[in-house]
Structure formats: structure tokens, C-alpha cells
């Protein structure tokens, strides 16, 4: 089938394009990018006044399958992705069972083949059962197409074991995604340590719990020359440490999630459990530093850290509620609102953070609009306002901290592998 997207403002940082262009899709690939391509196609999308950009590559997503299908499945999570303009996700391995052996990788691949509506890539665990005790056989995963390893949700506490993991990862040329948290320091905390934790009478998580572990992982990366990626950066000190490491030429990349720049700890003042995540929402100062880090390039990637939880796990006492928030369906609009509309990032910068950089970091041929490449394209109406509503989420879980918020920027079409997979509110 031939699909033609006409007159859109094409944003493609890989090819330094920010211009009005038509884009023709043929046989699931991008066939042509030019001005005024003749309107001969089965389907023509008039993208006048719209942004046309690569499908988002979200490298931090919890699809919860296998094991917690009550929270999310590959099917529901990828539909949510499409609504958010996300055509590729990296599924985190903290499932039940964890993706810590070849057998489980194969099991997940089967589920993906059968049920995914978007591209799902797999991250395997660093340690067996993510317990931080014994390394997994990451090489065997890599042969099965696993792109990275991570114990996300947990940090490998032992310096020795992390060193060994990175030494091996270097040899096997596999990316290590670091969840940076020193559990002794976070000490069962539930919100950022500071005035808000004091006011609410809740146990606080100091920023040291994050940035000291960022520091350690960077030191080990420098020593081993392994490539590491720091997940969900939430505080100023982490940004500073990463910036220094990059200057020294250490192979480190970093990501943040929209809630770390769109919200701060004051959102917690009425004990809203949808605002409870790990790392926790930090101070206004930290949120500003995250934005600065995105602007100056210290933070390479925006990813959702989509973490679905059921209402039963959230509508309880704050201290007992699960950590995490869904984000696939709001990450683009939040980033537009907080970063593009404020003049902090250009559309090309945004596409770099959400599409190109994660694809490059993961080593996949996504995130760009090259002729001949997979047609993962989104058409975004940048000025359309919408209100985040619980009932509109395609994710199985509704734990969004942004319910009720007015956002700007709606995904009208998500084209995944050359097919219109999502069109104005409906997954096709």
C-alpha cells in the first residue's frame, strides 16, 4: 500500500530536516521524501499545519508481561504507546518471572510476536531474579536480540558484582542500563527527603541515594570502558556528575522522565499516590536542573518510565502504595508543553531526545526518517489542546499523575512499520 503524508512540517534531526516536506510510504518503508510528491496513493494524510516526525522510541517501559497482566500486557501497553506516538519500546525485565534467562526471553518474544501493536525490544536482567547476587548469561540474550541489560527497579548493590557485570558487558558489547539507588540510603523512604517529607511526616529518600550510585556506576564504567545508560535521572547532582563524566569522555548516556521536569515534590502535599514514584519527585531546583541538563545535552533521552499499577495498589495508604506512574500516553504532550513551547528545546531537539538518541543508544535503526528505513512516523497536531482523562487511557492502569491537566499537542496518526496503527483516538 502507498501512503502519502502531505504538507507536514517534517522534523528529522538525523538528516537535519525541519522543513515542509511530503513523505511517501511504500511497502512499509519510507520511499520518498520531497516537496510536492504527486497525490497518488491509497491513503493521503493532509498534514498541513502538523508536525511529522519519527515515531518515538521509549527506552524505559514496564509492560508487566509475563506475570502481572492485571497491570498491563504487551497488547495493552503497545496500544497505549501508539496513542502516545510511541512506535518502539524497550520492555524492562522486572516481570514475573524476570527476563533473566534465555527461556524467559523466548517466552516474552512469543508474547510480543502474538500480541504487540508496536515494536517491542527487550532488556534482560543483569542478575538472576534481579537479586543482585549472581550474573545472568547476557551473551545468550544478546544472540536472541536483547538490546540491553538492567536490574531496573533495583540497583546492583555489590560494587564487585557490578564491576564484573560491566567487564563482561564491555566484552559482549551490550549496553547496561543503571537504576541508580543506594538502598541503605533510601532506607524505605517514600518521598524526597526535605521540607515536603517533613511536612507530610513521611520517610524521605535523600538525593544521595541516587547520585552516589550514579557516581559509582560512572566510575566503574570509566574503569571497564563499558557503555552505561543512567535511567530516570531526577536530581541536580546526578546531572552534574553525568556532565563531568561526559566531558572526560566516559561512555555514559542518561535519561529522564517527563514527571521529573513537569512536576516537583510539592505535588505530593495531599498524599496523592499517583505522585509516588522512584526516584521520587524532587525539588523545584532539581526540576530546573533536569531541564537545563536536557537543554545542554547532558541528558540525552526522554523516556516515560511507564510503570502501570492497579487501583488496588494505589488507592491505599501512601506508604503502602506502589511506586510508579504511567507515562506512554502523556510523555510527548508534556515534553511539548514544558520544553518546546517554553523555548527550551526546538522540535528537532525534542525529536533527538525522544526518537533519534534512544535509537542510537540501543543500536536500532529507528528514530529517523531515512529513505528505505522502516516507516515509523507520527503526525502531531501541535496546538490542539486536550485534557488528560482517566477513562481515555488505553493502558490497563490509570495511575497517571497528570489526570485533569490541560496539555497541548495531540498525536493524530501513528504509523508503525508502514501501517496506520493509530488514527485520531483509535488503534487500527
Amino acid at each position: 500500500m502507498r501512503l502519502l503524508i502531505k504538507n507536514g512540517r517534517l522534523i528529522d534531526p538525523a538528516n537535519s530536516i525541519d522543513q515542509i516536506r511530503d513523505i511517501l510510504v511504500e511497502d512499509n518503508k519510507i520511499a520518498k521524501i520531497a516537496k510536492n510528491i504527486p497525490a497518488e496513493a491509497q491513503k493521503i494524510i493532509d498534514a498541513t499545519g502538523k508536525i511529522v516526525m519519527p515515531g518515538i522510541v521509549d527506552m524505559h517501559v514496564h509492560l508487566r508481561e509475563p506475570g502481572r497482566e492485571d497491570k498491563e500486557t504487551v497488547a495493552s501497553g503497545t496500544k497505549a504507546a501508539l496513542r502516545g506516538g510511541v512506535t518502539s519500546v524497550l520492555a524492562m525485565p522486572n516481570t514475573s518471572p524476570a527476563i533473566d534467562c534465555l527461556e524467559n526471553v523466548k517466552l516474552l518474544k512469543k508474547i510480543i510476536d502474538k500480541t504487540a501493536s508496536a515494536n517491542v525490544f527487550i532488556a534482560g536482567a543483569i542478575t538472576k531474579e534481579r537479586l543482585g547476587k549472581e550474573l545472568t548469561d547476557a551473551l545468550s540474550f544478546k544472540k536472541e536480540g536483547v538490546l540491553a541489560i538492567s536490574d531496573d527497579g533495583a540497583s546492583v548493590d555489590s560494587d564487585e558484582l557490578m564491576l564484573e557485570a560491566l567487564t563482561k558487558a564491555k566484552k559482549q558489547a551490550i549496553l547496561v542500563i543503571c537504576h541508580c539507588e543506594d538502598n541503605l540510603l533510601s532506607n524505605h523512604g517514600v518521598v524526597n527527603l526535605g521540607f515536603v517529607s517533613t511536612r507530610l511526616g513521611l520517610r524521605g529518600i535523600p538525593k544521595e541515594a541516587e547520585y552516589k550510585r550514579v557516581q559509582r556506576d560512572i566510575q566503574l564504567a570509566a574503569k571497564t570502558k563499558a557503555a552505561i545508560h543512567i535511567a530516570h535521572v531526577s536530581c541536580k547532582e546526578s546531572v552534574e556528575i553525568i556532565a563531568k563524566a561526559k566531558k572526560k569522555g566516559i561512555k555514559v548516556t542518561a535519561e529522564t522522565a517527563p514527571h521529573y521536569f513537569a512536576l516537583d515534590e510539592e505535588a505530593l502535599l495531599d498524599y496523592d499516590t499517583n505522585m509516588k514514584m522512584n526516584p521520587p519527585l524532587r525539588s523545584k531546583d532539581d526540576a530546573a536542573a533536569i531541564k537545563e541538563g536536557l537543554k545542554d545535552g547532558t541528558i540525552d533521552v526522554i523516556a516515560s518510565d511507564h510503570a502501570p499499577h492497579t487501583e488496588n495498589e494505589k488507592e491505599i495508604e501512601f506508604e503502602r502504595a506502589e511506586f510508579g506512574a504511567i507515562g506512554l500516553e502523556t510523555e510527548l504532550a508534556l515534553s511539548i508543553k514544558e520544553l518546546v513551547n517554553t523555548g527550551l528545546l526546538s522540535w528537532s531537539d525534542l525529536a533527538r531526545k525522544m526518537c533519534l538518541n534512544p535509537a542510537v543508544i540501543l543500536g536500532i535503526k529507528k528514530g529517523k526518517l531515512n529513505v528505505g528505513s522502516d516507516a515509523d512516523i507520527i503526525v502531531v497536531s501541535p496546538d490542539t489542546e486536550w485534557i488528560v482523562k482517566k477513562e481515555d487511557f488505553l493502558s490497563k492502569s490509570k495511575n497517571s499523575p497528570f489526570i485533569g491537566r490541560k496539555l497541548k499537542g495531540v498525536v493524530e496518526y501513528t504509523i508503525c512499520n508502514g501501517k496506520i496503527a493509530y488514527e485520531n483516538g483509535i488503534c487500527c
Partner: protein, 313 residues
């Protein structure tokens, strides 16, 4: 003023006028407690449920007596934390109690924010009898009531709160209440027990007990729960008493009429010496007595607001 709040969840939420209104209402109820027949029909036909997820005798009994003196029927439900973990959620428990057509739920819970959460999910009045480290508004109200009674005024007084500030709901509620009423508050503890950013609540901080006592019109001595030091933040008992204990020697340098308060139960020889606990400056037992009047006022006011919220048939 007209009272409009159906719940009392914390003193952070209240303004000065509201706090003063509760204190004034408590004063008229205090008169009732001096009568030979200590009962008024204000809450006749109403039911108060004391829903306690933490062991408590004094607060529970105080609320029970307060409700009974208002002629309400009182039901006590004591639930251990473990059964909460295993079974029914707080919201479900609250809704079930509501379905029994009660009027007020007095809730004590070990989790901060639990009273507010319950209040969001039920229409009946909720009174917070202590939630985690967060707030214990009726305790602070009775502390403030006692202070006002002893000194005759509040504005411009200096009050020091000494002890485990970090984990104390009594401290937080006192800070909100006192600062709103124009009282200058100093918190005093070993640095490990001072929570970060507490200054932003409008208090001064010191680690020196003599400094805390030097200008104080009253000192509120918190119970040191050595048995619950989960974070190993506490010094040893002897060291604590040596450096922070309220003793006769220390008070010799303080104002002569300094009011000694304590939310109880007191640990003699740990945070306060026996002779000070029993000395004429001690208002500890008056606090207990005043607790009834203050809780009568709170139950009465929230039930009035609750009545107005009901839709007519």
C-alpha cells in the same frame, strides 16, 4: 463564626480564627466537666466510632469520655496493623462503618495521611486522632488550650518543643497551631531527630537544651520512644537524658513560671526527671483533663458541620 468543616484532619489546614473558635468552644465544655452531672445532650442520638489501628489508651479513652459526655453512643474498634495488611483496606473499613449509619469516625493510624485518605472516601465526619508522623491535632489543641489557661494569653509567648521532632505528629500539629496563634516556637533535639526543612514551618531550631529553655514560657517535652527507633537515629537513653532531659538543675536557669507539658505517657528519668514531672510547674495532668473538653468541642463542631452537609429528604 460558623463552623463548616466536617472533618478535623490537621492544624495545618486550619486558620487562626478556626483554632480560636475550637479553643473558645472547648472552654464552654470545660465548664460542663466541672458540673456534678457532666453530661449534655449535644450529640444525643449520634454515634461515634473510635477506629484505632495503633494501640492507644489515653487518646482513645479521652475521645470516648468526650463523646459520652456529649451523650453520643460510642463504639471502639481496635485493629492491629497486621490485620490491615492481611485484610480489608482502610477505605473499605471506613465505608462499612459508614454503612452502619454512624456520624463520626475518630481514626488513629500508623500511616501518615491515612485520616485524610479516609475522609476523602466517606461522607461521615472524620477526626484525626493521630496519623503516623504527620499530625495529632486534638493533642496540639489541648496543649494550646492548657497553655492559654496557665498563662492567660498566647500571642508573643515562647514555646520550646523538645524531643524526637522528626517522628512526632504532636510536634508537627503543635508547630502549625502555635505559629498561627502568634507563638514563637523553638524545636530542640539532637540533630539526627530534627527533620530537614523544619524551619520552613516557621520555627527556630537548636540542639542546645539550655538555649531552648532560656526564654521559654513553656516547654513541651515529647516522649522518647526508644523502643521504636527503627532508623537508629537515637542516642542512648543515658546520653539523651544527660543532654536533653528536663531536670531541676536545667530549669533553675529558665523562667520561674515556665509551664511544663508532656503529651504522655511520660518516661520518668528519660526525657523528664520525676521531680519535674510532679512539680508545681507541671501541667501534665491538666492537659489530660483539658483533653476531654477539647475533644468534646471538636466532636461537637464537626458533627454540626456534618449535619449541614446532609441532603434533606
Amino acid at each position: 463564626m460558623v463552623w463548616t468543616r466536617k472533618d478535623l484532619l490537621g492544624l495545618e489546614d486550619l486558620n487562626r480564627e478556626e483554632i480560636e473558635f475550637i479553643l473558645a468552644t472547648a472552654e464552654s465544655f470545660k465548664e460542663v466537666t466541672t458540673r456534678e452531672i457532666k453530661k449534655v445532650p449535644a450529640l444525643r442520638g449520634k454515634t461515634v466510632v473510635n477506629l484505632f489501628y495503633e494501640p492507644s489508651t489515653r487518646t482513645r479513652v479521652s475521645f470516648e469520655i468526650a463523646a459520652k459526655r456529649l451523650s453520643a453512643d460510642v463504639i471502639n474498634i481496635a485493629s492491629e496493623t497486621s490485620s490491615v495488611r492481611k485484610g480489608e483496606t482502610l477505605i473499605d473499613t471506613g465505608k462499612n462503618i459508614e454503612a452502619l449509619k454512624v456520624d463520626i469516625i475518630v481514626v488513629r493510624h500508623n500511616y501518615s495521611g491515612a485520616a485524610a485518605m479516609l475522609a476523602r472516601h466517606v461522607n461521615v465526619s472524620v477526626v484525626n486522632a493521630g496519623d503516623g508522623w504527620h499530625e495529632h491535632p486534638t493533642q496540639a489543641l489541648l496543649d494550646i488550650f492548657t497553655l492559654q489557661e496557665k498563662v492567660g494569653r498566647l500571642e508573643g509567648l515562647n514555646v520550646s518543643i523538645v524531643g524526637d521532632i522528626a517522628h512526632s505528629r504532636v510536634a508537627r500539629s503543635n508547630i502549625w497551631g502555635l505559629t498561627k496563634l502568634g507563638v514563637k516556637v523553638i524545636v530542640c533535639a539532637p540533630q539526627m531527630l530534627i527533620p530537614p526543612g523544619i524551619e520552613q514551618m516557621g520555627v527556630a531550631v537548636t540542639n542546645n537544651i539550655d538555649e531552648a529553655l532560656s526564654r521559654a514560657d513553656a516547654v513541651n517535652v515529647l516522649r522518647m520512644q526508644f523502643e521504636r527507633d527503627e532508623e537508629n537515629a537515637f542516642p542512648c537513653q543515658l546520653e539523651y537524658f544527660k543532654n536533653f532531659g528536663i531536670t531541676k538543675e536545667r530549669l533553675e536557669k529558665a523562667k520561674k513560671n515556665i509551664v511544663i507539658m508532656h503529651p504522655g505517657p511520660i518516661n520518668r528519668g528519660i526525657e523528664i526527671s520525676s521531680e519535674i514531672a510532679d512539680c508545681p510547674n507541671s501541667a501534665i495532668l491538666e492537659q489530660v483533663t483539658n483533653g476531654i473538653a477539647v475533644r468534646m468541642a471538636v466532636l461537637f463542631l464537626v458533627s454540626q458541620a456534618g449535619d449541614k452537609n446532609e441532603t434533606p429528604n
